[in-house]
């Protein structure tokens, strides 16, 4: 015991040697991360993982083939650095593809930049444009990294909530029932507002902002001369014939918007970490600066394969064989399946208009996880942890998508990911059915 104490105090003294603060102040308040915690729980306990957002089915064959083709080429230079701001074949096809959709003539060299996933695209935006003293409007619930990235850049996040309007009796809730209050939104814009982050289709709710809602946001951006970071990673995952609208295509918005996309979500290959930004050169040139001073290059071979994937989709655009038509069709079925499963056992689903996430109200299952008064942890987080440990079913608490002050606003909702094989969804259904039986039987 003495030896242990001695070695402890030695290592402590070595650590304490760094007598001034060790880590940079920019890390304050951003060290906790919900994914690190919940991914670990899921890998330890879950038998059915509907938690972290990634498909458990493979990327489409044509994409895997493109990757293999790239590797088998005689030219081994695909294993070496490519152009820092984006592999030429990829930026060219992205410019072509999205130019049409945005109604802009896009220059692949100046209007497109490739990033390590959409995550790094977001990072570049906040680092490039947000400074101490700047405010950034974030719509709640939000993909959690927005808040910490604003803080790391020294900015102040300003939150405005989507509020649930009760649906008509007997109808299931829809993500469309979650809406911004226009007056409340307008009140959030101040002289300090540098940017607003828009995520449509929205993670976690699955809301697909309507043209009217987007125009509301656009008008305020123009009026207050504010930038818009538009996270559109789920752009192809819209259901029931809904339309995904690109805010950069609205009046007055092209010059002030950075549009972000993701190969991981587009092609069901989240592990490739290929993303991109689209926008006017006067904005992208600042993203270049951040990019060349943080990662500089993105991996080459995945960019080559994604370029091939987009080439195929360009040729098949609008046709039934297009992956961008097949994937949402497939996912809509899975959505409906999960909605049914949850509704049947008394978990009330909010039917999403887009994305591969679904949020459900778990109030009817509250009795399994008693309230702990004065607990620091939001109820839904405790519930989700209990559920993965005791039922093997992994999901993410909705409070993960709210800022600290608002974590208890909606405390009985959890988020499920339904981009899963039929077998997985079936297994989820079995878990839920068994759980319900255990509740109702004496």
């Amino acid at each position: 015991l003495l030896l242990l104490k001695a070695s402890n105090s030695l290592s402590l003294s070595l650590q304490a040697k760094m007598s001034r603060p060790l880590q940079a102040r920019r890390l304050e308040g951003i060290d906790k991360n919900i994914w690190v915690e919940f991914v670990k729980l899921a890998s330890t306990y879950s038998t059915v993982n509907l938690g972290q957002g990634f498909p458990d089915f493979p990327p489409p064959d044509f994409l895997k083939e493109a990757f293999m083709k790239a590797l088998s080429r005689e030219n081994h230079m695909l294993h070496q650095y490519t152009r820092a701001f984006g592999h030429p074949p990829l930026v060219k096809i992205l410019a072509q593809f999205f130019g049409k959709l945005l109604g802009q003539d896009l220059d692949p060299m100046t209007n497109v930049m490739v990033t390590v996933g959409a995550y790094q695209a977001l990072f570049c935006c906040f680092q490039a444009f947000v400074d101490e003293g700047d405010e950034v409007i974030i719509i709640e619930p939000f993909f959690d990294c927005y808040e910490s990235m604003v803080k790391m850049a020294g900015g102040t996040p300003v939150f405005v909530p989507l509020k649930l309007k009760a649906p008509k009796d007997g109808k299931l809730m829809s993500s469309a029932d979650w809406q911004l209050d226009p007056a409340e939104l307008a009140s959030k814009f101040s002289k300090q507002t540098k940017a607003i982050v828009l995520n449509s289709p929205n993670n976690p709710l699955g809301k697909v902002f309507s043209r009217g809602e987007m125009e509301l946001i656009a008008d305020l951006c123009v009026k207050h001369d504010v930038l818009c970071f538009s996270d559109e990673v789920y752009e192809w995952l819209v259901y029931d014939g809904k339309e995904h609208i690109r805010i950069a295509s609205l009046q007055g918005m092209w010059d002030r918007t950075v549009t972000i996309g993701s190969a991981g979500k587009t092609f069901s290959a989240t592990g490739w970490k290929v993303g991109w930004t689209l926008g006017p050169n006067h904005l992208l040139k600042h993203l270049h600066t951040v990019h060349q001073n943080s990662v500089y290059h993105c991996a080459t071979v995945a960019q080559e394969a994604v370029a091939q994937g987009f080439q195929r989709e360009l040729e098949l655009y609008g046709k039934p064989d297009s992956y961008f038509i097949q994937l949402p069709k497939l996912l809509q079925q899975k959505r409906d399946w999960l909605v049914q499963s949850l509704d049947a056992v008394g978990m009330k689903p909010i039917v999403p208009e887009g994305t591969y996430f679904l949020v459900a109200d778990i109030s009817e299952f509250k009795s399994d996880v008693p309230d702990v008064p004065n607990s620091d942890e939001p109820y839904d987080s405790r519930f989700a942890k209990w559920m993965v440990k005791n039922k093997g079913l992994a999901a993410i608490p909705l409070s993960a998508f709210y800022c600290g002050a608002h974590k208890n606003n909606y405390s009985h909702f959890i988020r499920f990911c339904f981009a899963k094989e039929e077998a997985t969804l079936k297994a989820a259904n079995d878990v839920l059915q068994k759980w319900k039986r255990e509740k109702t039987s004496p």
Binding site: L27, W35, V36, S148, C298, T300
Partner: protein
């Protein structure tokens, strides 16, 4: 960025940017093909590093360092060593801090330190003439000058060994001087060791983190790109004590969260293959440096034939040479530019050979000291070196 654009022209023999045009070993390419067909390897993996990769890294480096390295807490996988430098600097450096940078330096150190709000403090390597042939070992730090650069604001020193661009391999004695100062002034050491395997006969790469008192205050950075000749995989790693690495992990989870999965899996498998043969001279960690030593010697010979005196590197895959002795007439070019920038531009246009000017690797005060030098990269296939040979052999015959 500036020079890679110019040298993208295929008619130019590119000995500028540091990227191999030799093939990576075939088993490395095969492992990537194998990984790509496994469905779950196309989805997200663990944020701080794919489990099989951090495990492999911990084994390899435990063996080298003679110290237990926890794969989950002592290692972070990043997008290239570049990403490790960024994560380290963002995690541990801020406004009010000073960071010592040894010149010439890999050019990203200065802007990264500035981006973190800190002040770069430069100290140059100085050439000490020890006879006829120039070696990277002739470039040394003045211990008194170095000691003067440390003060209460010094948060870290960035060390790069083997060194880009000179190719210097810091000796144990030289590292001890740096270590003593780090301990005395309670400073961190950011050790960029991407060329750790590329050391030539008679030299040994020593990890400053293995010197007494240094593990607790050092982040050691490595690179798959340089280890396996796969710069386009952009995978690197930071290794260090948990109380430092945890802050790098926070930066990582707020910047890109996770690195590509199939590449990490393939790299892990490649490391296992070479880990198992670390006692065998055929291990790629050793065979690559043997291959490159031949190219180094060839490059040096070609430059000597033009009448130049190259600085023979003890490590790395770069070679610097003083070109002012050629007395090329550069009067037509922009006066304001440093000599080496003008020389390289002239050489690209009139000789169709590219290199990198050394003043790109210096702070503003020292540019004059290094502007006579240019840097050649020699990790090139034989046909590239053959093309360079033609140009160099005909150098004095062609009109400018």
């Amino acid at each position: 960025v500036e020079f890679t654009k110019v040298a993208a022209d295929p008619s130019i023999v590119n000995l500028g940017q540091g990227l191999p045009d030799i093939s990576p070993p075939s088993y490395v390419k095969e492992e990537l093909s194998k990984a790509a067909v496994v469905d779950r390897l196309n989805q997200y993996t663990r944020g701080f590093g794919h489990p099989s990769l951090v495990k492999a890294l911990s084994q390899v480096y435990e063996r080298i360092c003679g110290k237990k390295i926890d794969p989950l807490t002592d290692i972070l996988v990043t997008v290239g060593a570049y990403g490790s430098l960024f994560s380290t600097i963002q995690a541990l450096i801020e406004e009010g801090d000073e960071v010592i940078i040894i010149e010439p330096f890999y050019d990203c150190y200065e802007p990264m330190v500035k981006m973190a709000g800190a002040k770069p403090v430069f100290i140059p390597l100085r050439y000490e003439n020890h006879g006829n042939s120039a070696s990277s070992a002739d470039w040394v730090l003045d211990p008194a000058e170095l000691a003067n650069k440390f003060n209460s604001k010094t948060k870290a020193i960035i060390l790069n060994t083997p060194h880009n661009p000179i190719g210097k391999v810091f000796t144990r004695e030289e590292l001890q001087v740096i270590a003593d100062l780090c301990i005395k002034h309670d400073t961190l050491c950011i050790s960029d060791e991407v060329y750790e395997w590329l050391v030539y006969k008679g030299n040994k790469h020593i990890k400053i983190a293995t010197l007494p008192g240094m593990w607790e205050r050092t982040i050691t950075i490595g690179s798959a790109g340089k280890t396996y000749s796969v710069t386009g995989w952009k995978l690197g790693w930071s290794i260090g004590p948990q109380h430092l690495i945890k802050h790098l992990q926070v930066v990582h989870q707020n910047t890109l969260y996770t690195c590509p999965t199939p590449l990490q899996e393939a790299l892990a498998q490649a490391f296992w293959i070479d880990y198992k043969r670390m006692d065998d001279p055929e291990c790629y960690f050793y065979s690559l440096s043997r291959e490159l030593e031949g190219k180094r010697d060839r490059m040096a010979q070609l430059l000597r034939e033009v009448g130049l005196k190259p600085v023979i590197p003890d490590g790395g895959y770069f070679m610097i040479v003083d070109v002012s002795t050629l007395n090329v007439d550069l009067s037509g070019l922009d006066e304001k530019q440093p000599y080496d920038y003008k020389f390289v531009k002239w050489m690209i246009t009139s000789k169709k050979l590219s290199a990198i000017p050394l003043s790109a690797f210096c702070g503003p005060e020292t540019k004059r000291q290094f502007e006579k030098y240019i840097r050649f990269c020699f990790i090139k296939k034989d046909s590239t070196l053959d093309a360079a040979e033609v140009i160099l052999k005909n150098w004095n015959e062609q009109p400018a």
